[in-house]
């Protein structure tokens, strides 16, 4: 075994004739941001769903913290410390920012089958939630209802909820999506600091952010990883230029 936190070997997933994942092997090492890029339809969503446990691969395995988690549910992986953010914000829109963060803390620390004491009055839940909100600069909005937040704030809340899990690794599905230049820069700074805490597998379209953040980049095309390497290696790779960057620019 390597010392990788998260590792896939030979993931294959087909939908009818379409091979959305065609033998994906990659790993996420401690302290790094590993970005996965690729054109639309390359199979990035299918890959992340197999990592998070939303869909099961036809072949191949997923290891997390040295354990084979291929057969585990999303919930079990989350409890084991795999935190995920969504491409389209998946938040409880009618609840407040704090309630959303407390939900994360609840999943991480205790059973939800407690029926009488108010959730927000539980110190251990509240402290953990507030700590995460503070780090994302949302502490001032704790009492705001999510539907009233700006788009950027919602992206930050996504990350904050993931943080409350105190995860061992992050799966982030296009966290910059829909953010303006300024918002994007701000989030880039946050992610940059986050990698020390837990490594991030980052799927992202925003190339500026990817090049600024990534320790390593993997390029996914038609369900295959065609190259993995440092930022410079990828920039120089002729295959990547041909297959991807070439037509992107």
């Amino acid at each position: 075994m390597t010392d990788a936190i998260l590792e896939t070997r030979g993931l294959v997933k087909s939908f009818g004739a379409l091979r959305a994942s065609d033998g994906i092997t990659l790993d996420l090492r401690p302290g790094e941001i590993h970005a996965v890029i690729g054109p639309n339809g390359a199979g990035k969503s299918t890959m992340i769903k197999q990592l998070s446990g939303n869909i099961a691969p036809d072949e191949g395995t997923v290891h997390f913290l040295g354990r084979d988690v291929t057969g585990l549910s999303t919930m079990a992986r989350a409890r084991a410390g795999l935190a995920r953010t969504f491409q389209v914000s998946a938040l409880a829109m009618e609840d407040t920012v704090l309630q959303n963060a407390v939900l994360g803390a609840l999943g991480a620390t205790s059973s939800p089958y407690r029926f009488f004491r108010p959730a927000l009055k539980k110190a251990e839940l509240r402290d953990r939630a507030m700590a995460a909100l503070e780090r994302m600069g949302l502490a001032g909005h704790a009492a705001t209802v999510v539907s009233e937040l700006s788009h950027g704030q919602r992206r930050q809340l996504e990350v904050a909820v993931a943080l409350t899990l105190q995860p061992r690794a992050f799966l982030m599905d296009e966290p910059m999506a829909g953010l303006g230049g300024e918002g994007s820069q701000q989030l880039t700074g946050i992610l940059d600091r986050l990698r020390a805490e837990a490594p991030i597998l980052l799927i992202e379209h925003d190339m500026d952010a990817v090049f600024a953040l990534a320790d390593r980049i993997s390029v996914l095309v038609y369900g295959r990883i065609i190259a993995t390497g440092t930022v410079d290696e990828i920039r120089r790779s002729p295959e990547v230029r041909d297959a991807y960057l070439g037509d992107a620019e």
């Binding site: 609840d95 999943g107 089958y113 029926f115």
Partner: protein, 327 residues
């Protein structure tokens, strides 16, 4: 205090005071009406946990209402007819004690809710509405043809069951008991909504992906919510049967499910006092419109339509504002 809270407190207080005044003025029927409103509100508070909090549109809550009713009917009829329910492993004659009947009603409806929930929660959306309806119909037809307990004729219990220290035949005392149960359950529902469970169930309605991503199982949350919801509606069924001193398959009918749902929507979905307002208004309408016209269902229908189309958030929403309270 938010306007919604204030409105709720006023309605609840009124529901308590009106029968008291009626008692002093010697108008026992008003007390009966208020008791009916309180018990129907209780049934709707139960459904509101599944519907409002969990987003589970159950068109089969009459199942639990009926099970609660039949728990009362069956237990009490055995005592009434001097026919023990069973003699082995020990002699059991049935029961006419409300606390015991309530316990049986709650446990039986919770158990059935668990079984129905396990199957029904595999589906969602319209399918969930329809499968709950189908389970209700199963119980309805079964109860009609179950001749041991009266079938379509139902079961008549001549004397209202007892509660330690109370004369339940006195309308005001039985009202007080029903009202107290309603208040306790409302408090419970209030706590539940703010508890970790309520937070998680509410989030499972709004964003099941998120709930999974933080390591919680939305299906299990819904199942537990459905069971709690069914148990409360079952308790209401037992009280309703005692109010009428009668149970019949009508309690299982899909119109009953529809009416319980109507209370909630009339009052306001997912609002603590919505079911209370809805049930109280419905009982008053039934009473007054029924006096006004032989064709009062037309007016009831038009009114319901108006509420759905123009008063989103129900009557509570109309008066207290669209925004729900947050703590």
């Amino acid at each position: 205090m938010s306007r919604e809270r204030l409105l709720g407190a006023v309605v609840l207080l009124a529901l308590g005071l009106v029968p008291l005044a009626a008692h002093l003025m010697g108008e026992p029927f008003t007390i009966t009406l208020a008791t009916r409103a309180a018990i129907l509100a209780l049934a709707a508070v139960g459904l509101n946990i599944a519907l409002g909090l969990g987003g589970l549109v159950s068109l089969g809550h009459a199942t639990f209402f009926g099970i609660g009713g039949y728990a009362m009917g069956i237990l009490a009829s055995h005592v009434q007819n001097y026919e023990p329910m069973f003699e082995w492993p020990f002699l059991f004659e049935g029961s006419t004690s409300m606390p015991f009947i309530w316990l049986v009603a709650v446990l039986a409806s919770a158990l059935v809710a668990l079984l129905i929930g396990l199957l029904a929660l595999r589906t969602s959306g319209v399918y969930f509405i329809m499968i709950t309806l189908a389970f209700g119909q199963m119980f309805y037809f079964f109860s009609i043809s179950w001749s041991a307990y009266g079938g379509e004729d139902g079961l008549s219990i001549y004397v209202r069951n007892g509660f330690p220290g109370l004369n339940t035949l006195d309308p005001i005392q039985f009202f007080g008991l029903s009202y107290a149960v309603l208040c306790i359950v409302l408090l419970g529902a209030h706590l539940l909504a703010r508890s970790p469970f309520g937070l998680a169930l509410g989030a499972a309605r709004q964003s099941p992906d998120r709930v999974q991503a933080v390591g919680l199982d939305p299906k299990r949350l819904r199942l537990v919510g459905f069971v709690i919801s069914g148990a409360i509606t079952g308790l209401a069924g037992a009280l309703f049967a005692d109010l009428n001193r009668f149970v019949s398959p009508t309690m299982f009918s899909w119109q009953t499910s529809g009416e319980i749902m109507v209370f909630i929507i009339l009052g306001g979905v997912g609002r603590l006092f919505g079911p209370v307002v809805g049930a109280a208004v419905f009982v008053m309408l039934e009473h007054w419109l029924g006096d006004m016209s032989e064709f009062w269902h037309i007016w009831l229908g038009l009114l319901l339509l108006a509420v759905v189309l123009f008063a989103r958030g129900g009557l509570v929403g109309l008066i207290a504002g669209r925004e729900k309270a947050h703590d």
